[in-house]
Symmetry: C2
Subunit: 193 residues, 2 copies
Amino acid sequence: MARRTDARASAISTAERLFRIQGYTATGLIQVLKESGAPKGSFYFHFPRGKAQLAEEAIDCYVAKRMAVLRHISSETAGDAPKFVRQIFRTFADEMVAADFQYGCLMQNLANELPALDADLTKRVARGFLDSTEIIADHFRGCGFTSERASSAAAALVAALEGARTIARLERSPAIFEALADVSVRGWASLER
Amino acid sequence: MARRTDARASAISTAERLFRIQGYTATGLIQVLKESGAPKGSFYFHFPRGKAQLAEEAIDCYVAKRMAVLRHISSETAGDAPKFVRQIFRTFADEMVAADFQYGCLMQNLANELPALDADLTKRVARGFLDSTEIIADHFRGCGFTSERASSAAAALVAALEGARTIARLERSPAIFEALADVSVRGWASLER
DNA sequence: TTTCCTATATGGTGATCACCATAGTATGTC
DNA sequence: GACATACTATGGTGATCACCATATAGGAAA
């Protein structure tokens, strides 16, 4: 039987948004339901396992969107590592500016509340990072990097992106993305003098 | 009159620890008091402004310790930027290994729960990042970097450190620090082939 | 039309949250 | 001994937490 309302989907997208702004523990189900317009009575009909399940579906949604963005950038800059790196930083910076620096990364926010997460959710977060990293590593391999170096460069880029989000949010400025792009592409040596 | 007990200090250090592991919202005062051994009855005697004040004192303590570590590394590697960068990554990695990857960065955890923080606490977090960055920028200036480039390189390094902590915690591995040290010092160019 | 399944409303559960009022104890100074 | 200060115990406040039992409304399939 087909679904008759969008209560479920809107609850997920609202949860994704609130988890990114406030974090997992700080976001109550009542707030999610109120802001999404979804009815309170049917929450445990749609999400029998409760808040944990809601978070699982939210992160699946978030990771899928993030990977789509990365894949798109990768295909646009095939074979050109510096351009790829710059384009990633610019895209993330633009997203944050557009959202007035209100949103953190959902994976990072969940990772910072690990004890509140069950094993399943923790695995999904870790998987999200691994999958993102792999897309980036693939691109580097396509630029002629050795496999090992492509992997470590990709991991470094992912970490830098996460840190940049935290800083940008606090400073309400995309400057950190520019700084990271420069350092990443040119290395410290070129910064001297 | 002199203080007669260490209830206050132990509450602060316990709060710092729990905030780093669980985050701000997820950590209840009852847990802080129980784990610190501090009596429940005197909490609002020591911290009249409640949980927010406890967090303020915890972050002051955390930032002071972090800056001391950075200053020490800086003085040990004066004039040598690559060595400085590598030493920072190694020190942070060693700390995480020693603590079995249980601890996040207090500033980052608080930054990811911004809506739960009052203005005073938010300012303290931002100030902590600025002060840390400034120590690093000073070192780069001492290596002959231009002032502007020293600042942006320092900001990039701080962001990378934050992101690395998140990843390392999730992967329970210090590998990301190694990867970042390589990329930071050598740049992407040297990773090709 | 009867029977399901989807979906929602209502009204709770006990637990925990940060916070506080009141009273009392311990330890210092004078 | 008098007295002030430093500290703690007790027992709450109302609010919010995630979660759930029960009843029922609405549309599709039989």
